[in-house]
C-alpha cells in the first residue's frame, strides 16, 4: 500500500505537471463536493436504515405507508426526476461547447423537472395526510416515511434554488464564465447525487415495500 502511493506520486513527479503544490490533480472545490456528498450518503443511509427498521411498525394503527403507496403515480414522478439528470448533463455539455443559450435552457428545464417532482411529493403528502389520515405521528412507520422522503425533498428544493441562482446569474451577466463553469459542475454533482438517492428510496421504500 505504502509503495503504491509512493510509486504513484513518483510517477506523477517524473512527468511534471505539478504547480506549486503536491496535489491529487482534482480541483479543490470539486474534491470538497465529493467529500461532502460522501458524508451525505451516510446521512441518507441512516435515514433509509431507519425506515427499514420501522417500515412495518404499524403499532395497531389501521393505516400503514406501504399499503397506500400509489406506485404508478410515484413511478411517473421518479421518471421526471431521472430525466432532470439528463437535462443537467445537457446543460453541462452546452456550457462546455460555449452555447450559453442552451445552458440557460437546460438549467431551466432541470429546475422545472425538479419542481414537478416536488409538486408530486407535496400532492402525495397531502393525500396521505388528508385522505388516508396518515400523519407524521400516526405510527413509527409513518414517522420514518415522512422523515426520509421529507429530507430528500428538502435536498431537491435546495438543488432547485441553486439551479435558479445559476440561471439568474447567467441571465444577468450574459453567460457563465469559466469559474462559473465549475459552479455548474458542482451543482450537477449534487443534483445527480439527489437523483441517485431517490432511485434507492424508490426501490426500497416503494417497490420493495409494496410487495
Amino acid at each position: 500500500m505504502a509503495d503504491v502511493i509512493e510509486a504513484a506520486e513518483t510517477h506523477a513527479e517524473d512527468h511534471g505537471g505539478h504547480g506549486e503544490h503536491e496535489s491529487f490533480g482534482i480541483d479543490n472545490r470539486k474534491l470538497g463536493m465529493w467529500l461532502f456528498l460522501s458524508s451525505e450518503f451516510l446521512f441518507f443511509g441512516a435515514l433509509i436504515t431507519n425506515y427499514m427498521v420501522y417500515g412495518n411498525d404499524t403499532f395497531g394503527a389501521t393505516v400503514v405507508p406501504r399499503e397506500i403507496y400509489d406506485i404508478p403515480f410515484t413511478s411517473v414522478s421518479s421518471f421526471v426526476l431521472l430525466m432532470s439528470s439528463l437535462t443537467m448533463v445537457l446543460a453541462h455539455h452546452s456550457l462546455a461547447t460555449g452555447d450559453q443559450n442552451g445552458t440557460r435552457t437546460w438549467l431551466l428545464a432541470t429546475a422545472l423537472l425538479g419542481s414537478i417532482f416536488l409538486g408530486g411529493q407535496v400532492f402525495e403528502f397531502y393525500e396521505f395526510i388528508n385522505v388516508y389520515g396518515m400523519t407524521l405521528t400516526t405510527n413509527p412507520a409513518s414517522s420514518a416515511f415522512f422523515m426520509l422522503t421529507g429530507f430528500h425533498g428538502v435536498h431537491v428544493a435546495i438543488g432547485v434554488i441553486m439551479l435558479m441562482s445559476l440561471f439568474g446569474m447567467s441571465r444577468r451577466q450574459g453567460g457563465l464564465s469559466e469559474g462559473h463553469g465549475m459552479n455548474l459542475e458542482l451543482v450537477g454533482l449534487y443534483w445527480h447525487f439527489v437523483d441517485i438517492i431517490w432511485i434507492v428510496i424508490f426501490t426500497i421504500v416503494y417497490l420493495l415495500g409494496a410487495v
Binding site: L136, T137, P140, A144
Partner: protein, 669 residues
C-alpha cells in the same frame, strides 16, 4: 457566484481589509488567528467543565453528601461530559489542526479560508447556544412521577438544576418528551447538531488541504504524523457525523413534533437510539484521541533525538484504528438485549482494536529506546500520555470480554477507564502540544520550572483521582448516582478522589499562570528552540502572517532535521551548522519574500451566516408560539442572505479557495 471586479456595487459589504484590532479577529480568514480563537474558547470551556467536575467531587467527597440536589448532580455530570468532549477536546484539537496543518504541509492557508472561519463561528455560536440553556432551560416533572422523592419540583428548580440532565449520551426514552419535559434536553440536541455542522465543514476543508495543498515534494508518506492523524480524524468526522445528525434530528422530532421513533408507548424502539448514538460515539472517541497521538508522535522523536520508529506502521495503525472504530459500537451496549452472536462478534472486534493501538505504543517506546532523551516539559507530558494511555487501554480491553463487561457496566470502573484514555491520553497529549508549539505562537518559551511543576502536580493529581475509581467500581459503586450510604465503605477512597481532583485544578492554575507570564516575559525562543524535525520550524517565531515567504520544497520525511544534520561514516548524525545559518540560506526563510504575497481577504460573511443557526435552533424549541416562527424566519433570512452575499463577494485574489457552491451545499446539510 463570484462577482468580478467591475461589479463591486453589487456586494452587500465592502470586503474588509483590516489585519489588526478587534475587527480583524471578527472578519479574519487566517488559519492562525482562527486556531488561536479555537484554542482560547476551548480552554474557557475546559475551565467550566472542570468546575462542574469539582462540584461533583465535593458532593461525593463523603457518604450522604448534601452539597448538590439529585437534579443538580444529574445536570452536572451531563454537562461535564458534553462540555469536555464537544466544547473542549474537539475544539482544542481543531485549534492545533487549524494552526499547524498549513504550516506543516508548507501552505499559505487551508484550502477554503472563509469556510474555515465559518466553521469556527458556527462552533462558537453552537457552544454559546448550548450553554444559553442556563438562562432559558427548564425541567418539569417527568410524566406520571410527580411528587416522587428525588425528582424535580419546578418550584424548587435551581440554576444548575435547569441544565440538560440526560448524560452526554442522551439515552432514550429518558431524554424523550415523556421523561425529560421542559426545554433543557432540546438545547443539548440542537446544540450538538450545530456543533456537528461546524465539524463537518472543517473536515471537508482539512481533507482537501491535505490532498491538494502540500508543499512541493511533500509526498503523502513524507507528511508529519500529526497531519496524517488530522486526515484520519477528518474522515472519521465525515463518516460519523451524518449518523449522529440523523439521530439528533429523530430525537428533536420526537420532542418537538411528536414523532414516535424512540417512544416505546407509541411503538418506537429506544435501543435504536443507542445503536445510532454509538455508531457515531465510538468513532468519536478516536476523534478525541488520534490528534493527541499525532502530537505525541511529533514530540517524542524531537526529544529522543531519533527519527520516529516505524513511521509507516504508526500511520497505518492510525488508519486501522479509525477503520475498526466503525465496527465496535455495540460494546457500549452489552447490557442491552443483544443476541449472543452479536455480543461475541463485537467483543472480538473490540479486541482487534488493541492490535493497531499496541503497534503505536511499541513504536513510541522504540522511538525513545536508545535515544538521548531530553526531559523537557513537552516530553514529560508525552511520556505521561504513553504511560497513562497504556493503563486506560488495558482496562479497555477488559470491557471486550462480555461477562466481565456486564460486571463493570455503569460502575466507576468505566469512569476510571475512559478518564485514563481521555484525560491521561488526550489531555496529556494536548498539554504536550501546547508546551511544544507555544514558541511557534508567541516567539517565547514557556517557563520550564513552572512547566515541570505543572506536570508533576497534574500527574499525581490525575492518578489520585482516577486510579481509586477502578477499585471503587469493582467494589460496586455505580455511576451517575448522587449519594452513597456510609455502610458501603466507599468514603475513604472517594475522599482521595476528591483531593486528587482539586490537585489537578491546582496544576491547571500553575499552567494558566505560566502561560500568561511566559507570553509576556518568557525567554525569546529564537528560530528552532527544540532542535525540531518538521518544516513549521523553518519560519520565524511567532509565525509571520503569510507563513512561508516562498513555497518550501520538501525532499524527505523530517525535512528540517535532514537540513541540519549529515551522517558520518558510522551512521551517526553530525550537525552541519546552526539552524539560523541554514535557514538563512533558504529562499523561503520567511524574512524576505521575493514576490508580493497575496492572502485571502477577511470577510464579514462567515460570522453573519453562523449567527443565523442558533436563531433557527431557538425557533425550533419555541416553534409553537409566534416568537419561535419569527426566529426561524429571521435566522433563515440571515443565513441565506449572507450565503448570497458570500457568493457575490469580490475575491480580489484568485487563490482564495472559496468554493462558493461547495459551502452552499455544506450548509444545506
Amino acid at each position: 457566484m463570484t462577482a468580478t471586479a467591475e461589479r463591486p456595487s453589487k456586494t452587500i459589504f465592502r470586503r474588509p481589509e483590516t489585519t489588526e484590532g478587534f475587527w480583524s479577529w471578527i472578519t479574519t480568514v487566517d488559519h492562525k488567528k482562527i486556531g488561536i480563537m479555537y484554542g482560547y474558547a476551548a480552554f474557557v470551556f475546559f475551565i467550566i467543565g472542570g468546575l462542574e467536575a469539582l462540584l461533583l467531587r465535593i458532593q461525593l467527597a463523603g457518604p450522604n453528601g448534601d452539597f448538590l440536589t439529585a437534579a443538580e448532580y444529574n445536570a452536572m455530570f451531563s454537562t461535564h461530559g458534553l462540555t469536555m468532549i464537544f466544547l473542549f477536546v474537539m475544539p482544542v484539537s481543531a485549534a492545533f489542526m487549524n494552526y499547524l496543518l498549513p504550516l506543516m504541509v508548507g501552505a499559505r492557508d487551508v484550502a477554503f479560508p472563509r469556510m474555515n472561519a465559518l466553521s469556527w463561528w458556527i462552533f462558537l455560536f453552537g457552544a454559546l447556544f448550548t450553554y444559553s440553556v442556563i438562562f432559558f432551560g427548564d425541567v418539569t416533572p417527568p410524566l406520571g412521577v410527580e411528587g416522587v422523592p428525588g425528582n424535580i419540583d419546578p418550584s424548587e428548580q435551581t440554576l444548575l438544576g435547569g441544565l440538560p440532565d440526560g448524560g452526554w449520551f442522551l439515552y432514550q426514552p429518558n431524554a424523550g418528551p415523556d421523561f425529560s419535559p421542559g426545554t433543557a434536553v432540546d438545547f443539548a440536541l440542537l446544540g450538538l447538531q450545530i456543533l456537528g455542522i461546524a465539524s463537518l465543514i472543517s473536515s471537508v476543508n482539512f481533507i482537501v488541504t491535505v490532498f491538494n495543498m502540500r508543499a512541493k515534494g511533500m509526498r503523502l508518506l513524507r507528511m508529519p504524523v500529526f497531519i496524517w492523524m488530522t486526515l484520519v480524524v477528518a474522515f472519521l468526522l465525515l463518516f460519523s457525523l451524518p449518523i449522529i445528525a440523523v439521530a439528533l434530528f429523530m430525537g428533536t422530532f420526537d420532542r418537538a413534533f411528536g414523532t414516535l421513533f424512540f417512544q416505546a408507548a407509541g411503538g418506537g424502539d429506544p435501543i435504536l437510539w443507542q445503536h445510532l448514538f454509538w455508531l457515531f460515539g465510538h468513532p468519536e472517541v478516536y476523534i478525541l484521541i488520534l490528534p493527541a497521538m499525532g502530537i505525541v508522535s511529533e514530540v517524542l522523536p524531537v526529544f529522543s533525538r531519533k527519527p520516529l520508529f516505524g513511521y509507516a506502521a504508526i500511520v497505518f495503525a492510525g488508519g486501522g484504528i479509525a477503520f475498526l472504530g466503525f465496527g465496535v459500537w455495540a460494546h457500549h451496549m452489552f447490557a442491552s438485549a443483544l443476541t449472543p452472536v452479536a455480543q461475541a462478534a463485537f467483543g472480538l472486534s473490540t479486541m482487534t482494536i488493541a492490535i493497531p493501538t499496541g503497534i503505536k505504543i511499541f513504536n513510541w517506546l522504540a522511538t525513545m529506546w536508545g535515544g538521548r532523551i531530553r526531559f523537557t516539559t513537552p516530553m514529560l507530558f508525552a511520556i505521561g500520555f504513553v504511560a497513562m494511555f497504556v493503563i486506560g487501554g488495558l482496562s479497555g480491553v477488559t470491557h471486550s470480554v462480555v461477562p466481565s463487561d456486564w460486571q463493570q457496566t455503569d460502575t466507576y470502573y468505566i469512569v476510571a477507564h475512559f478518564h485514563y484514555v481521555l484525560f491521561g491520553g488526550s489531555i496529556f497529549g494536548i498539554f504536550a502540544g501546547l508546551y511544544y508549539w507555544f514558541p511557534k505562537l508567541t516567539g517565547r518559551m514557556m517557563n520550564e520550572a513552572l512547566g515541570k511543576t505543572h506536570f508533576w502536580i497534574q500527574f499525581i493529581g490525575f492518578n489520585l483521582t482516577f486510579a481509586p475509581m477502578h477499585w471503587l467500581g469493582l467494589q460496586g459503586m455505580v455511576r451517575r448516582t448522587w449519594r452513597y450510604a456510609p455502610e458501603t465503605n466507599f468514603g475513604p477512597w472517594n475522599l482521595a478522589v476528591t483531593i486528587g481532583a482539586f490537585t489537578i485544578a491546582l496544576g491547571i492554575l500553575v499552567f494558566m499562570f505560566n502561560w500568561t507570564w511566559s507570553k509576556r516575559k518568557g525567554v525569546p525562543s529564537g528560530l528552532d528552540p527544540w532542535d525540531a524535525r518538521t518544516i513549521e520550524w523553518t519560519i520565524p517565531n511567532p509565525t509571520p502572517h503569510y507563513n512561508f515567504a516562498d513555497n518550501p520544497h520538501v525532499t524527505s520525511l523530517d525535512h528540517f532535521w535532514h537540513m541540519k544534520y549529515d551522517e558520518d561514516d558510522e551512521g551517526r548524525a553530525v550537525r552541519k551548522d546552526n539552524a539560523d545559518e541554514i535557514v538563512a540560506q533558504l529562499d523561503y526563510d520567511g524574512k524576505n519574500p521575493k514576490a508580493p504575497i497575496h492572502l485571502p481577504n477577511p470577510s464579514y460573511f462567515p460570522i453573519l451566516m453562523a449567527a443565523g443557526l442558533p436563531l433557527i435552533a431557538y425557533g425550533i424549541i419555541y416553534h409553537q408560539g409566534l416568537a419561535g416562527k419569527l426566529l426561524i424566519a429571521i435566522g433563515a433570512v440571515i443565513t441565506i442572505g449572507s450565503l448570497l452575499g458570500w457568493g457575490m463577494e469580490p475575491l480580489e485574489e484568485p487563490h482564495d479557495g472559496g468554493g462558493d457552491h461547495a459551502e452552499e451545499m455544506a450548509e444545506a446539510h
